[in-house]
Amino acid sequence: MIAARYQTAKALYPYRKVAAQDAPKKRHPVVIVGGGPVGLALALDLGQRGTPVLLLDDHEGPGLGSKAICFAKRTLDIAHRLGAATPMTGKGVVWNKGRVFYRDGQLFTFDLQPEDGHRHPAFINLQQPYFEEFLFDAIVAAQAADAPIEIRGANRVTGLVVQADQVVLDVDTPDGPYQIAADYLVACDGARSPIRDMLGLGFEGRVFEDNFLIADVKMKADFPTERWFWFEPSFKDAGHSALLHKQPDDVWRIDFQLGWDIDRKRELEPQRIRARVDAMLSSQTGAVPPYDLEWTSIYTFQCRRMKSFRKGPVFFAGASAHQVSPFGARGANSGVQDAENLAWKLDMVLKGTAEPTLLEKYAPEREFAADENILNSSRATDFMTPKTKISQVFRNAVLDLAKNHAFARVFVNSGRLSVPCTYPGFGPDELDGPAMSQPGSVCPDAPVADGFLLDLLNGEFCVLVLGDALPADISVPVIQITDPHPLLAARLLGNASGAVYLIRPDQHIVARWPTFDPPAIYAALKTALCKG
């Protein structure tokens, strides 16, 4: 029997008994544990590349609740490459306008006008179960096109043994236990990762602790599609900060930051939640529009990561490996980037087109990214809940000045939106080009003749040749754009008349040069593949 750890929003992959449960233990190249955004994205990526993947989830679909509601541009770009982004952007809410309040007054408003020449906006708001369902739909479509992806719902890993070259898993099901072996295991099983616990691995780093009361309310009332954020809201029992955010289906996310020492049970009483929500909704208009409480939860966060995201053949991705505060939407978004970072590496190593040493790059690259995310979300946390008297004084000084002075508004930090990191140590960088496209960064998107640049980078190593640079014979796919769109030129050429970029399967730029030099490209490729 598999006891539920949480309530499921929808049964996407109901339990079905498979022949393997009564057969001798079978060995799989890749087993993923956990069918959240990270596990599903990884399964889809691997399967589309033709590498067989088995995903085990101890439930039968996404957990209930809106959870990670903000999906950033990079996630949408990755989802687009995987063929899953169209329903996400179709369903998701795009917002530009925000208001920041301090105590009972409005400090300022902002309008995030989207930057031209990108397929995707900076972010969309979308309930996490939809995000997972759209990835799952893309998996079903890929399976129909013979992608070797299998998902087994209600399959819970209860034990594992790590051997030199494989992992042996004990799996429990409604029909009893069986065993599976895997060349590689990827733990995408969330912040409370049972796999991490089974291996006796923990976390280190700076720890923040706070509680957020989350209330999803359904309102038909005409309420603006804006993000409202309060520092020290003056309405009753609101806590240190409060947030109002629009989601699809007339649902609004309301967050109250309650502090660490709270009575969870009491705070979750519907009457108490409604009193808070009433006070917030009426604070600007004086009236409480009719609403229903859709979902409420108390969310506890910590900012920390595992020391290493890999232990032998076991990889950790997403919240199993790193946790951040919710400010900046750096949780699920960075997890999807973990999946993208690992997928092509596992695929190449399993196909024999790269040596296993390539896999040694996963952990340091994603640990670097996690440190950047933890830094940003810790800074936002420090701003929102100052830890010392003097940091409170400076924080309040910023807020006091922000009402009348633009310079102070840039210090106001209720979260810095998730953007992909620039990996260190990439190169060479021999082009005197724009900083945004320096080696290590994700290739910026830009318009091309029939769409967008990132559409041309379809998941393999490639060489992008721009302007008057001339390609020569090489064994890597070459994409040539002789007459780049002005936005593309601004983002990848700068003042140069031509440029040559070597780009990884995850669209991160390996190196760049002013001219096409095959030996230099081969050398950079060899380094990127960790070839000895």
Partner: protein, 60 residues
């Protein structure tokens, strides 16, 4: 540009007087808040991170 640590204010006594007077009648909490606002305003005016870092170091 480097941090100026030689005399740079033409009428130092007048400025010092103004600075102290700005705090007249304020509680310690209000004074601390005023100082914080002033530091932020001046820091933004300077802008140069190298100079700001040198100033932080000189003040410590």
């Amino acid at each position: 540009m480097s941090l100026t640590l030689t005399p740079n204010i033409p009428d130092p006594d007048d400025f010092y007087d103004e600075l102290i007077k700005a705090h007249e009648g304020l509680s310690d909490t209000e004074s601390q808040a005023l100082n914080a606002r002033l530091i932020l305003i001046l820091a933004n005016h300077i802008g140069d991170r190298k100079v700001l870092r040198a100033a932080l170091s000189a003040a410590c």
